[in-house]
């Protein structure tokens, strides 16, 4: 049962990921990325990280992609022509790099060194919470500073000078 869900989610994730980076309409790109993030959340749940699955939908699909959608709709830029019309060398090089990367990663991973997973660690909020305020407290505090900096930076960048 779990393997059916995994293969289905993996297939949908790959297809919608491919659509997300190749379709010419930016709104369709964002929406297919939403589907990809959903499938990745399903994979997190399959791996036992249910808090992160819910957080993935909340943060990525619910906030980051809404921001993308806002910018796409507000900018309403004319659709940029496909890259193939002016730079064939660049396009070939890009495709080659992507394919080599894919092949390399797949070959590297399929080497028989990975045991079948056992129970694994708990993925609920309590475990993650204890780790956040325990061993990783410093990183937690730093992340808040990073978020604040990003907020201030984004506001400064779009402020109009009068």
């Amino acid at each position: 049962m779990a393997s059916i869900v995994f293969y289905l989610a993996a297939a949908v994730a790959l297809v919608s990921g491919a659509v997300a980076v190749s379709h010419r309409n930016p709104v369709v790109n964002v929406l297919s990325l939403v589907i990809t993030f959903f499938c990745v959340a399903v994979n997190y749940a399959l791996l036992g990280a249910e808090f992160l699955a819910a957080a993935q939908i909340l943060i990525y699909a619910g906030a980051i992609l809404v921001l993308f959608l806002f910018v796409v709709m507000l900018l309403n830029a004319p659709e940029v022509k496909a890259a193939g019309d002016a730079r064939p060398f660049q396009r070939a090089a890009g495709l080659l790099v992507a394919c080599v990367l894919a092949a390399g990663l797949v070959l590297l991973v399929l080497a028989p060194r990975f045991p079948v997973p056992g129970v694994g660690a708990a993925g609920d909020a309590k475990t993650i919470g204890r780790l956040l305020v325990g061993p990783h407290l410093f990183a937690f505090e730093l992340i808040t500073v990073v978020l604040l900096t990003a907020m201030v930076g984004a506001l400064v960048l779009v402020k109009r000078k009068h």
Binding site: V27, L31, E50, A54, A55, I57, F70, A125
Partner: protein
């Protein structure tokens, strides 16, 4: 295993049927309630007290001509109301409707009619789904290829994501007191202690206000206002798709009421429930849950017809400068109370 599947299917059918019926009932309550508040009669021709009015309205909407704007993006135009309805319906699988680990049907415990009772992250799941509701609105606004729709859709999504923050912080206070993300645990905690609106009154107020904003109901309904924005993001929709948007709005109201009751008003618990067990407890708890939700649905209708609409900048100012500090204050209060062992 087949018994479990049958019971789960039965629960799903029961919940879906109840929700859809309550949508129709809400439509009638809205129109008669509005009339009552405005000192007039309301629909009273179709059936006794106008009770068949929602059926007649649904038939009317079904038979209207389905107009699609020519330059609209067809796929997204059809997808938007579907997303709204889907998100509104799916949130019900974690809400506990009644008591009872000891009530069994076909040998399978009913677990209070919760379809997914053991979901570790129940509350987070609810918040995640409500943040997905933004997509239905913003896509509906954009795909209609109409500047009023686009403005309405963008304003509505900005409003939704602003008030989502305060809502999450208010819920956080409840979660801190309960110590678990499962909704069944939240209700059990309130059964053992005071209902959460008493120690966390500020949090309750913030949550109720944010719920009004999240469901796009007055006084926060500028994005779909008829006289300001030509009905905003659903102006280009007709017939069944428009009905789908309306249905999703009422379903969101029912979800919001269910959430308010579960998180702050004790869910299905009622005073004096220690005297009952088994089937009587289950049925009484269902009834108490229904009564509480009915009160909050009436509150939604009551506020709609009593308060004027917020202007957009007032709305955003209230969300960011008013509710968010109050929600943080509630968090501080809950932390202090927990350290001092008052909660």
């Amino acid at each position: 295993m087949w018994a479990e599947l049958a019971v789960t299917a039965g629960k799903l059918v029961a919940i879906a049927a109840t929700i859809l019926t309550s949508v129709a009932v809400m439509e009638w309550v809205e129109r008669r309630g509005a009339a009552f508040i405005q000192d007039r009669l309301g629909p009273n021709r179709v059936g006794p007290l106008g009770l068949f009015q929602p059926i007649v309205d649904a038939v009317k909407l079904l038979f209207k001509e389905d107009v699609t704007p020519e330059a609209a993006n067809k796929w997204l135009y059809y997808l938007a109301p579907m997303i709204s309805v889907f998100v509104a319906l799916v949130t019900f699988i974690v809400i506990p409707f009644g008591a009872g680990d000891d009530v069994t049907v076909l040998g399978v415990p009913l677990r209070g009619l919760v379809v997914a009772p053991d979901l570790n992250v129940g509350v987070l799941y609810l918040l995640a789904l409500s943040s997905l509701g933004v997509f239905g609105i913003v896509l509906g606004g954009w795909s209609s290829n109409n500047k009023y729709s686009l403005l309405g859709g963008l304003r509505s999504s900005a409003q939704l994501i602003s008030y989502e923050l305060s809502m999450t912080l208010a819920v956080l206070g409840v979660l801190m007191a309960t110590g678990s993300l499962r909704l069944t645990d939240v209700v059990a905690y309130q059964g053992a202690h005071l209902w959460n609106f008493m120690p966390q009154a500020i949090g309750c107020l913030v949550f109720v206000t944010a719920a009004f904003a999240e469901t796009n109901r007055l006084p926060f309904d500028l994005p779909e206002a008829e006289n300001e924005l030509v009905a905003g993001y659903h102006v280009e929709y007709s017939s069944m798709k428009f009905a789908a948007f309306l249905m999703s709005e009422y379903m969101n109201m029912v979800t919001a009421s269910a959430l308010i009751v579960t998180l702050f008003f004790g869910g299905w618990t009622f005073p004096g429930m220690g005297a009952f067990t088994g089937w009587p407890l289950f049925l009484l708890s269902l009834a108490s849950f229904a009564v509480k939700i009915a009160f909050f649905l009436w509150l939604f209708v009551w506020v709609r017809w009593s308060l004027p609409r917020f202007r957009y900048d007032q709305l955003m100012r209230l969300g960011w400068k008013g509710l968010l500090p109050l929600a943080v204050l509630n968090l501080v209060w809950v932390s202090v109370a927990m350290v001092m062992k008052w909660i």
